[in-house]
């Protein structure tokens, strides 16, 4: 929700750069970060202009998100 707020100023998981995918044959889920827009979802821009991405500020699953975002920053050549 925080992610969609960054992109649109509103709360709308359908526009988020994160997709939560439930695992097929076992319990749990996988977080997928969109680097390209898909359907209504908007690609991650690393929360440009902010000191810390909103997902890391607001999501409870900070520990799961941190390596995903770190990898994204490395790949995109963003340093913070």
């Amino acid at each position: 929700m925080a992610c969609s707020y960054h992109h649109t100023g509103e709360f709308n998981p359908a526009r988020s750069s994160f997709i939560i995918v439930e695992k097929e044959d076992e319990a749990g889920y996988v977080l997928q970060l969109l680097e390209q827009a898909t359907g209504g979802a908007i690609a991650c821009d690393g929360c440009q202009g902010l000191d810390e991405p909103l997902c890391l500020q607001y999501c409870r699953e900070h520990e799961e998100l941190l390596p995903i975002m770190t990898q994204f920053f490395e790949k995109a050549g963003i340093t913070r």
Binding site: Y5, E10, P13, E24, E26, R60
Partner: protein, 644 residues
């Protein structure tokens, strides 16, 4: 969207199941005076239900309501509520659950759904943004809630589809049947699932891709951040994240807060605490975390049971309630029983407390020779027999054999059976409960005065037996100096009324009660709720405004009960066993409810509410002070207006 309101979806769906008509109304018609989920529901039910309506009458209405902050990142905002006239008490029936459907409902632009009438054949409601239609559910009727979810996901090809549904228990009008979110979360107590079954409504499916817009977004996010930060001070946070309420078993044992053999004892054998330790089971069997969007604590886990009698079971962990209401109540030592029983109840759409209450009553009757195999269809009902307990849950859900009697709940079953068995039916106002009322007076008071029959989630002081409470903080939050003294009688009415406001506002806003001051004084309080709601809607509300709205809602619940039931002061009382017997074992051995002190405490509670101490009825002065003149007139007409 019919009329834009910040924070809300904007519209209310009205679905007439008798003729298939689906219409929309603006949420604005209600939202200025009645906040969100259960607030809007009580207004609709009070105004629209005719006085002769009973729970299963097609004229009864079933109101689903998404919390006013659901769909936003407000900490803990993940709840939807369902309300109606219920078949357990005959009066106000209301329960909430974490709910994906609630969030999707709001993203589709709807805040509530009012179901009225009765479908001619089984149907389910399909909501996909603007597409809202009733669909045939004949092929789903008879399926468990788990099978129903799988079927609808297969049919639609949408593996992320979320539903709420009823199982065999709701279809067969088992009185305390639940509505289940997907597989593992229940809109529990009161029998809303049975009302859904009476309407031939199998499920509700919602998909929404719209957005929730708040009035002051920057301020809203700042408040969200501040509240999230506040949780870092909460003492229970780490334990709660790891084990949910299951961490509380050892403490409940210390304070005699458990049910053993149907409340014959309120502490369990000490070696049983270790034998069934649910925290060990979580450590051993957890395979993934589970939480809902908006959840701030993340208290649940997916489990895969790898050994024991139910090896192979994949399910979500239960909460403490199941430990006390089924595991220890039935004296079952196999540690994985709680997960198996919880999973079975959820798949059947059966309330865990109603199952535990009815089976506990039956086992005690069997123990005492009140019933025998000739009553049970040849079954021996013996404490500790897990397989028999599971079979009884199944039989109750399908109303098979002896299960048909238990499906009525312990209170009615005892009335039907007779033989002086009613003393062993541990209920309040007909509602089977797991809450022992001895040894924790704020918990007891909040439980017995609950407008939905009984229970600890509408005003009980849940944290008063928590060790190491800071009295100074207690004074700041609860307004009393003795929040840490559960055996005091003084101060409890004031604290209960505070918690009645917190629980109602949490429910209206869709905030999980576990993330409020109910469990830890450093969690969300009315002050944060007011800030979040004000920034979300742009309507500035204060703590006092929220308190007044909560009291208005509570008085409406009370008035609804007075219209549809015979409840009065006599019913705001613990069970006969709790009332008469001293605690027999454990650290509080010999402690007994002081009847004079209890009555003084109840007097004070009514006095603070402005209710008649003799009858418990609200007075005209109180009702009119809350803007409820019409309700006062209604109460006068039926002779239930309080005199002083």
């Amino acid at each position: 969207m019919d009329g834009h309101i910040f924070g809300y979806g904007g519209s209310i769906l009205r679905v007439n199941l008798s003729n298939g008509a689906i219409t929309t109304e603006s949420t604005m018609d209600y939202a200025r005076d009645w906040i969100g989920a259960s607030g809007i529901a009580i207004k609709i039910l009070y105004d629209e239900l005719r006085d002769w309506v009973t729970a299963y009458d097609p004229q009864n209405k079933l109101v689903f309501g998404a919390g006013a902050l659901l769909g936003t990142p407000a900490p803990g905002a993940c709840k939807m509520n369902v309300s109606c006239i219920g078949p357990v008490t005959g009066g106000w029936a209301s329960g909430c659950s974490d709910s994906y459907v609630g969030g999707q409902l709001k993203y589709a632009g709807y805040d509530s759904i009012i179901f009225e009438g009765r479908a001619h054949c089984p149907v389910y409601l399909w909501i996909d943004n603007d597409v809202v239609e009733l669909r045939d559910a004949s092929h789903l009727w008879g399926k468990t809630t788990w099978e129903t979810l799988d079927s609808l996901r297969d049919e639609t090809g949408d593996k992320k589809l979320h539903i709420v549904s009823i199982g065999p228990a709701g279809e067969r009008l088992v009185r305390a049947a639940c509505i289940i979110q997907d597989r593992n979360r229940a809109f529990g107590r009161c029998g809303m699932g049975a009302v859904m079954g009476s309407k031939n409504l199998k499920a509700v499916v919602a998909r929404g891709t719209g957005s929730i817009k708040v009035a002051r977004p920057q301020q809203f996010m700042e408040i969200v951040g501040r509240v999230r930060k506040m949780f870092e001070q909460a003492k229970i946070r780490d334990q709660f994240r790891d084990y949910g309420t299951l961490f509380s078993l050892p403490r409940k044992q210390e304070v005699c807060g458990l049910s053993y053999k149907n409340f014959q004892e309120t502490a369990i054998p000490d070696d049983m605490v270790d034998a069934i330790d649910p925290m060990k089971s979580i450590d051993k069997y957890q395979v993934a975390r589970q939480s809902f969007p908006g959840c701030v604590l993340g208290c649940s886990r997916h489990l895969e049971i790898t050994d024991g009698p139910w090896a192979g079971l994949k399910t979500e962990a239960c909460q403490h309630e199941v430990v006390s209401t089924l595991q220890t109540r039935l004296a079952i030592w196999e540690p994985t029983f709680m997960f198996k029983a919880n999973a079975l109840c959820n798949s059947m759409g059966m309330d865990v407390d109603a199952a535990g209450g009815a089976i506990g009553w039956a086992m005690e009757c069997f123990q005492r020779g009140i019933i025998d195999e000739s009553d049970t269809g040849g079954m021996k009902l013996e404490w500790g027999d897990a397989e028999t307990a599971l079979e009884l849950i199944r039989m109750i859900s399908y109303r098979e054999g002896f299960g048909n009697l238990l499906a009525e709940g312990s209170a009615r079953a005892a009335d039907i059976l007779g033989r002086d068995s009613s003393y062993f039916a541990m209920h309040m106002k007909g509602q089977d409960l797991y809450e022992p009322c001895r040894g924790s007076n704020g918990w007891m008071l909040g439980t017995v005065v609950s407008t939905r029959g009984g229970g600890h989630t509408t005003g009980a002081i849940v944290l008063e037996t928590t060790p190491g409470l800071d009295p100074e903080k207690g004074h700041e939050v609860y307004g009393v100096d003795n929040i840490d003294k559960p055996l005091d009688y003084e101060g409890k009415p004031e604290a209960v009324i505070y918690m009645e406001a917190v629980s109602r506002m949490a429910n209206c806003l869709g905030i999980c009660l576990y993330s409020t001051t109910c469990l830890d004084m450093y969690q969300t309080d009315l002050s944060q709720m007011a800030d979040l709601y004000s920034a979300a809607t742009g309507w500035d509300v204060s703590v006092d405004d929220l308190k007044e709205m909560a009291m208005k809602q509570l008085n409406m619940e009370k008035a609804l009960n007075l219209r549809f039931t015979d409840f009065d002061r006599r019913h705001d009382k613990p069970t006969p066993r709790d009332w008469q017997e001293p605690i027999p074992t454990g650290n509080l051995t010999g402690w007994k409810i002081d009847h004079d002190e209890f009555n003084k405490m109840l007097d004070r509670y009514y006095e603070l509410h402005g209710w008649d101490k003799k009858t418990s009825y609200p007075t005209r002065h109180t009702l009119e002070g809350l803007g409820l003149k019409q309700v006062a007139d209604d109460m006068e007409k039926i002779g239930k207006l309080g005199m002083k």
